[in-house]
């Protein structure tokens, strides 16, 4: 876990840096590997259960590897009143997986989120860093064509 040690080196070993270190770890591996958490626990002198408590409390962190393309369907209020629930169901049908799951080939993982903050364009679907606005259930198929 040399990479993790490098990440920790960028911060002081102050326990308050935990969330920042977890962010960088998540960015590097797209999830939080068990070994990484053990290394962080060791270096920052924070008990492992406390690290798990933080890692599972915040939604930005995942203990399972995410797909090559991580799909977020926004269910914020503005998206909700414009039918985002139906958009989510359409994405689930299209990818053949339920929310919070990953396709068997590891290409896509799907999650619903509570507001991405681009409410004027709802419903919004985000694939990795790409935002797709004004989506309706019929437009879902077209979005994913470019990622196949």
């Amino acid at each position: 876990m040399e990479d993790i040690e490098n990440i920790i080196q960028n911060y002081s070993k102050d326990p308050s840096q935990l969330i920042s270190i977890l962010h960088d770890t998540q960015a590097k591996y797209h999830y939080l590997p068990k070994e990484a958490l053990e290394t962080i626990s060791d270096k920052l002198k924070i008990p492992l259960p406390d690290i798990y408590q933080v890692a599972t409390f915040y939604k930005a962190f995942s203990l399972e590897p995410r797909g090559k393309y991580h799909v977020k369907v926004c269910l914020g209020t503005a998206c909700h009143v414009r039918d985002s629930q139906r958009v989510l169901e359409s994405v689930e049908r299209h990818l053949g997986i339920k929310c919070n799951k990953k396709t068997k080939d590891g290409t896509f993982s799907l999650e619903s989120v509570n507001c991405l903050g681009c409410c004027a364009l709802g419903p919004v679907v985000v694939v990795n860093e790409d935002y797709h606005g004004n989506i309706n259930p019929g437009k879902v198929e077209k979005i994913f064509k470019q990622y196949r």
């Binding site: 935990l18 969330i19 209020t77 009143v81 169901e89 364009l121």
Partner: protein, 615 residues
């Protein structure tokens, strides 16, 4: 331009003069909105196309290109405004760029097809468009004029002059001015900002901390995001002034995880401010030492609550603590801490520069100043709007928002996020301010204003918020954790057509318990969406429970799709149906097989002849 530390007030003014004198006000400048909304609508390729076209036509020396913050009119993005004439083009696409450069920039002609049009009228300038014209833009005004990454742009427009003025006053005088302004917290509760500052200032213990809360978690609002992304210096300037008044040397900016551009831009802003000596030691020769750190949240709604936010800053789980422990005395690392919302901080430079009397001249009796609202949902002009407090809902929704999409019937507006409530049509002429919204059972919150039309089911909205809160409740106290779960169970049953007599009363009883004994505001306010929908739309609940009908035709279990005689037999719906539930011969009436239909509504969306109906 070489950055030289500004050592005093005179040098700051000198710098400002120098920046302005190096600029030619007549030189064409293309500003492209680079807020997240416009970028999501394809703003990035537009920026690239401008860069390439300007290069291609050898205009690099003659034209400035500026990526600005959010302009607010997100519905019509990507937005481009060309200075000095302020010609506004909407929904600009990369293929439009060669024409814009050749015609408008080189020949000074307007490209008519890219102008905003309303009822047959064309609008050349953005300030004439009703969406902008009917607003009162103060804190949001500079967003569209400055490059979000340029401190020089901010300084050229008078930036940091309020800081210079404040540092020539005593901290007590600054505090007094903020108190007299009657500014109330823009993050939700509306607590007087000056009083909050005073408590932290008077609290025992050192060091003292000041924090910007940019953990904008209310679903349906993005005003803080746009301010933080577009004009981070305005927030920083307010923060430094606050630190001076309170007696703090260390500030934090807490940004939610979903806003990476805000993190990037505020980090750049801090770095630039340090280079110019506007952060760091002995700021402008005043003796004030102050610096700021940026912290990225990690996705937890409850962390926006002040006591939870400071726990999160300490690297811990962001759970709230009981309210009898005051942040002003025991906040971050148990030290006196003052936390304000992004928009509250951004108001401070204006109050210092223009005075509290000026601020008090805007707004209503007990709510002074302006407020930025995120006007979204079923309204024609979605976007960010800044209006004086006390303006009516009708003025916001109709004069600025342009009315309801597809001219449907307005039903209600939801404000205050999951802690707020819905306001029905009969109160549309009520003024919007802290007290009026509370009287109606809702609240100001951080400025979300989600417009709903006749197709929005109010029981489903209540269920939606409970479902949101179920995920976001930290689970520490029983009334909130279990209350939300039980209410959600009941609402889900009602939406599925399994509601029972007495359900409404049970919901009301659970609400009372949660309001009385939950640990933090998330729990005490969680029943608001349920209570306001029951209060104003009780008949909709009864219809679901007694008649097993959803009047808005939204609840899936209570509706069915049908093809009417309007069907031309074009076959599009049958082709699009994911369940292959639609059949029929070409050019003949099609039918839906009820047993296969999953009520996804794709047939209705795809029918061009309005032949598919819900009943």
């Amino acid at each position: 331009m070489i950055t030289i530390k500004v050592k005093n007030y005179q040098e700051l003014e000198g710098l400002r003069t120098e920046i302005i004198s190096n600029r030619d006000p007549k030189k064409p400048c293309v500003t492209i909105c680079s807020g997240t909304g416009c970028l999501a609508s394809g703003g990035e390729p537009v920026i690239k196309a401008f860069q390439e076209e300007i290069k291609k036509q050898n205009l690099e020396e003659k034209v400035d290109l500026k990526k600005t913050g959010c302009h607010g009119f997100c519905e019509r993005g990507p937005l481009v405004v060309i200075y000095p004439e302020e010609i506004c083009y909407v929904q600009v696409q990369p293929e439009d760029i060669p024409e814009i450069v050749s015609e408008t920039i080189v020949n000074g002609k307007i490209v008519d097809r890219l102008l905003y049009k309303l009822d047959g009228e064309e609008f050349v300038h953005d300030y004439d468009i009703p969406f902008y014209k009917n607003q009162k833009r103060i804190i949001f005004e500079k967003n569209r004029k400055i490059d979000s990454k340029s401190i020089e742009d901010y300084i050229a427009l008078g930036g940091y002059s309020a800081l210079a003025k404040a540092l020539q006053m005593t901290p007590e005088e600054v505090l007094e001015e903020v108190k007299k302004s009657n500014l109330r917290g823009r993050g939700g509760g509306g607590f007087p900002t000056g009083m909050k500052w005073e408590s932290t200032r008077n609290a025992h213990g050192h060091p003292k901390y000041v924090i910007v809360n940019c953990d904008e978690g209310d679903p349906g609002t993005y005003a803080n995001r746009s301010l933080m992304e577009g004009n981070p210096h305005s927030v920083l300037e307010g923060l430094i002034i606050g630190a001076y008044a309170i007696g703090s040397n260390q500030g934090y900016v807490y940004v939610r995880e979903e806003y990476p551009l805000a993190v990037e831009n505020v980090n750049i802003a801090i770095k630039k401010a340090r280079e110019y000596g506007l952060l760091g030691e002995n700021i402008l020769g005043s003796g004030l030492d102050f610096d700021v750190k940026v912290f990225r949240g990690a996705g937890a709604f409850v962390s926006g609550e002040s006591s939870a936010l400071v726990r999160s800053l300490e690297g811990k789980v962001g759970e709230p603590i009981p309210k009898y422990i005051h942040m002003a005395e025991k906040g971050l690392y148990d030290k006196p801490t003052n936390l304000n919302n992004v928009e509250s901080w951004a108001n401070i430079p204006f109050i210092i520069n223009n005075g509290s009397d000026w601020f008090n001249s805007i707004g209503s009796q007990n709510s002074k100043g302006t407020k930025v609202f995120s006007l979204v949902g079923k309204v024609k002009n979605t976007g960010l709007v800044e209006v004086p407090l006390g303006i009516t809902l009708r003025e916001i929704i109709y004069n600025i928002g342009g009315g309801i999409k597809e001219d449907k019937k307005f039903k209600a507006v939801q404000t205050g996020g999951p802690s707020g409530g819905v306001i029905p049509e009969k109160y549309i002429d009520r003024p919007v301010d802290f007290d009026e919204l509370t009287k109606l059972g809702s609240m100001m919150g951080s400025g979300g204003m989600i417009v709903m039309d006749e197709d929005t089911c109010m029981v489903n909205i209540a269920k939606y918020f409970l479902n949101f809160l179920k995920d976001e409740s930290c689970g520490k106290c029983v009334p909130c954790r279990e209350g939300i779960r039980q209410m959600l169970k009941i609402l889900t049953r009602i939406c599925e057509g399994k509601g029972e007599e007495g359900d409404i009363e049970t919901l009301e009883n659970l609400s009372i318990v949660m309001q009385k004994v939950s640990l933090c505001a998330l729990g005490t306010s969680a029943p608001n969406p349920v209570l306001t929908t029951i209060k104003y739309f009780r008949e909709e609940y009864e219809s679901h429970i007694k008649d097993k009908k959803c009047p808005a035709k939204e609840c899936k279990d209570l509706i069915r799709y049908k093809i009417t005689d309007e069907c031309t037999g074009c076959g599009v719906c049958a082709l699009k149906c994911p369940q292959e539930a639609i059949s029929g011969e070409k050019k003949k009436l099609h039918v839906i097989d009820e047993s296969k239909c999953i009520r996804c509504g794709i047939c209705l969306d795809s029918c061009k002849f309005n032949a598919v109906v819900k009943e």
